[in-house]
């Protein structure tokens, strides 16, 4: 297995609405700054892969427009994942395993949710015959998941609120965070429910934003970065789509992915969980086998910002950055997409 590392990560400020810049204009400065930070020119990059969804901004081929951020001339070696960008990073990792001539890679993701109605857009991921026509939106589905946890005695509404309190507290140290602050669960619980038992603090913010990562292989990574964040395991697994076929209080595919990626092979200093809704944070901690000695979502997690389709890459980047700067030695990044954590990807990162 070829040793591949993340050597740099950057993201835009997470904004509720970015009305003045298009996708390419959001991405361009992130990519430019990132290349500069490791001393690479855009023409030095061996492979480029992005993640996005045309439905978010309602524009066909928005990923092609986004290529303008790269100055893709002469033609570049490039691919795209229609979905969460952690999977684009996985594609890149596989590509770099197969093609040893590729020494460096750029992965970027972006989402501009503010133009459309995210709650309606995301219902499209459901079965188009049996579920999508009745519009079980993401908040409603997550609420069903939350109710199972309450009915089974796994967690309470206060436990959900505590996840938001923790994330928002951690986000205070994140200058790019969209939401942050000191709250207490009791106060948050006084809010009305949106889809019972979920309240606003249990739901992800709507964000316009972009993010990017540079990966490098072997000695190239050591040359460009003092302390690369090495990918020691990266695996993804999928559960059956229909909610009625699953025990929503668990996430078997995340558990399988974590086992395959080798999460338990060492102490996990930090973990970034792509849990759009607070109950999912609790499910994932268990599925990934994370204990009390792991700091969960030091960046603020989903509450720091949700540049949907880029959100999973931010999780990887936030773990990588803390390894690169020496704050942590070993960390786990989780990404998800699909209704109620249907698809899960787990990346284990280590410093040397």
């Amino acid at each position: 297995m070829r040793d591949i590392a993340i050597i740099a990560f950057g993201q835009t400020e997470n904004k509720r609405t970015e009305r003045l810049l298009n996708e390419a204009e959001m991405i361009a400065p992130v990519v430019g700054d990132l290349l500069k930070s490791v001393g690479l020119k855009r023409t030095d990059i061996g492979f480029t892969c992005s993640g996005s969804s045309d439905y978010l901004a309602g524009q066909p081929f928005s990923f092609v427009m986004a290529l303008d951020a790269l100055g893709a001339w002469p033609p570049i070696n490039e691919s795209h994942t229609e979905g969460e960008t952690a999977w684009a990073l996985y594609e890149t990792w596989v590509k770099m395993q197969a093609d040893e001539e590729i020494e460096t890679a750029l992965i970027y993701g972006f989402g501009r949710q503010s133009m459309g109605s995210p709650r309606e857009v995301m219902t499209l991921m459901n079965n188009p015959y049996l579920e999508a026509p009745i519009q079980p939106d993401t908040i409603s589905q997550a609420a069903l998941q939350a109710r199972v946890m309450i009915d089974k005695g796994i967690a309470t509404e206060k436990d959900f609120a505590e996840v938001a309190v923790r994330n928002l507290k951690h986000a205070k140290s994140n200058p790019l965070a969209q939401c942050s602050g000191d709250f207490d669960a009791e106060t948050l619980l006084k809010d009305p429910t949106i889809a019972s038992p979920l309240r606003k603090h249990d739901c992800p913010p709507i964000t316009d934003g972009a993010c990017a990562i540079i990966m490098a292989a072997g000695d190239k990574a050591r040359e460009l970065c003092k302390r690369p964040a090495w990918i020691r395991g990266i695996e993804h697994r999928i559960d059956v789509q229909a909610l009625g076929q699953r025990d929503l209080s668990e996430c078997p595919s995340a558990k399988l992915a974590a086992e395959a990626a080798g999460v338990s092979k060492g102490k996990v200093d930090i973990a970034e969980l792509h849990a759009p809704f607070t109950p999912q944070d609790i499910i994932l901690q268990k599925a990934l086998g994370l204990g009390d000695d792991t700091v969960i979502n030091p960046s603020g997690g989903i509450h720091q910002g949700n540049p949907m389709m880029g959100t999973s890459l931010v999780r990887i980047g936030e773990v990588a950055n803390r390894i690169i700067n020496g704050e942590a030695d070993r960390g786990v990044a989780h990404g998800s997409q699909g209704p109620c954590l249907q698809q899960n990807i787990v990346t284990v990162l280590e410093g040397e």
């Binding site: 904004k15 509720r16 609405t17 009305r19 003045l20 810049l21 298009n22 390419a24 204009e25 361009a28 855009r42 439905y55 309602g58 524009q59 081929f61 092609v64 427009m65 303008d68 100055g71 001339w73 133009m115 459309g116 109605s117 995210p118 309606e120 219902t123 188009p128 015959y129 049996l130 579920e131 999508a132 026509p133 009745i134 519009q135 079980p136 939106d137 409603s140 589905q141 609420a143 069903l144 939350a146 109710r147 199972v148 009915d151 965070a177 939401c179 942050s180 602050g181 709250f183 809010d191 009305p192 949106i194 019972s196 606003k200 913010p205 709507i206 229909a242 909610l243 009625g244 076929q245």
Partner: protein
């Protein structure tokens, strides 16, 4: 004339959840306009673009409204238009609806299920010793194809799980507060996601009994049915339809809103003025319409880079379109459509319809001039920020011969 910048802020919780609620007040800052705080809909200072932008932002997700809290507000900065640069909003709000009218064949399993709903029955399928409802084509554990062995289940069942939707969206199947629930129908081993009509959240609970109610008009779709508390169920007598459901339709309709970016706004204003405005990039080619930045040099382009192109160009290609009928199609007769590149442009125009030149006289290399409509008849309703298929609005009346000799075929301009 003033331009303005919008900033989203939130008076509650500082940076926490900086979203917008309904009926938000506007505040405004700056010295070039009267500096009084003003109400959103009441102010003379608010012009159309602002109202639309603010309304749009407020519409985005009602789930983020926060009753009982100070509403968030828009901060408006007025700046003299001479300062107009990359961070000013254009005065052209745009909105569009993305629609996909899907027609699908449901196959032998889902087709039988939908046929059942049309006929007032709910069918599950046998998978080993379990009954799956809704039915699946494959065993979810082994992926084995399931035999077409259907079993009637329901019409009553048990709520395994539920959530109360206090404010339904316009897309939800019940247009009053309702519950989504996972319902295990009597005789089935798996649960179905569906809507339950109940008087309130206190009228629904895990373990409660519900009964299917079929709608008066049924089309063979999952929306033909909904659930009510068992005690509220009305006895229904349903006349089965004819034949199997072999086609199911599902229209996706998604609203989007934006404003034209500043360079797009100048392009659009040019169209209204009867001009083609592009942007000169660093290598000398003219991007038409401009993108606001130079994709190769990776620098921002400004108003200083705008150039007007002549309304004259060369035909690079053409074809005759025989219109097929689809939802939204307005053409009925064959017509010519041509790829034209304006003199000096780096890209071709989107295909231009040619109605006035006979097909047998039309040819590649032909030189054409755009004849603009009278100013009052020009509109830019379909101009948006999309530069891959950029519209030049509805401003050109027709294309006519420029009177120049054809461009020789080996000298046709290059384009991307």
């Amino acid at each position: 004339m003033f331009t303005y910048r919008l900033e989203l802020t939130n008076s509650c919780f500082g940076s926490f959840f900086p979203h917008l609620g309904r009926g938000l007040p506007l505040r405004h800052e700056g010295s070039t306009k009267p500096s009084k705080p003003f109400d959103f809909f009441g102010s003379e200072c608010v012009d159309l673009a602002l109202v639309v932008a603010a309304f749009v932002l407020a519409e985005i997700d009602q789930a983020w409204d926060r009753p009982g809290q100070d509403p968030p507000y828009l901060m408006v900065h007025y700046e003299p238009s001479s300062k107009q640069g990359a961070v000013t909003m254009s005065e052209f709000p745009i909105s569009f609806t993305l629609e996909f009218p899907y027609t699908r064949t449901p196959g032998p399993v889902i087709g039988r299920f939908l046929t059942g709903l049309r006929d007032g029955r709910i069918l599950g399928i046998r998978s080993g010793d379990r009954i799956l409802c809704p039915p699946m084509e494959f065993d979810p554990d082994t992926c084995e194809t399931l035999a077409l062995d259907f079993v009637d289940v329901g019409p009553s069942g048990t709520v395994e799980n539920w959530t109360w939707i206090a404010e339904p969206t316009s897309k939800h199947p019940i247009q009053e507060p309702f519950a989504f629930a996972l319902v295990k129908l009597d005789g089935a081993d798996t649960v179905m996601t569906h809507a339950v009509k109940a008087s309130g959240p206190e009228a629904i609970s895990t373990g409660m009994r519900v009964t299917a109610q079929f709608r008066e008009e049924r089309v063979g779709a999952v929306t033909d049915v909904y659930f009510v508390p068992e005690a509220d169920a009305e006895k229904q007598s349903i006349e089965p339809g004819e034949g199997e459901v072999e086609i199911t339709t599902h229209t996706i309709s998604l609203p989007y809103t934006d404003t034209l970016y500043p360079h797009s706004a100048r392009f659009a204003q040019g169209l209204l003025d009867g001009k083609f405005i592009g942007q000169r990039t660093r290598d000398g080619t003219v991007s038409f319409p401009g993108k606001g930045y130079d994709a190769l040099a990776r620098v921002v382009l400004t108003e200083a880079d705008d150039v007007e192109l002549p309304p004259v160009g060369t035909v690079l290609s053409y074809t005759t379109i025989a219109p097929i009928q689809y939802k939204g199609q307005t053409e009925t007769e064959p017509y010519l459509t041509a790829i034209i590149i304006l003199d000096g442009a780096g890209q071709t125009l989107t295909p231009q319809d040619i109605r006035n030149i006979p097909t047998d006289e039309f040819r590649v290399g032909m030189r054409l001039r755009a004849v603009f409509k009278p100013a009052a008849e020009r509109d830019i309703d379909n101009v948006d920020n999309d530069w891959m298929y950029p519209s030049i609005g509805n401003v050109v009346d027709h294309w006519e011969s420029s009177g120049e000799p054809d461009c020789p075929l080996d000298e046709l301009p290059e384009s991307v």
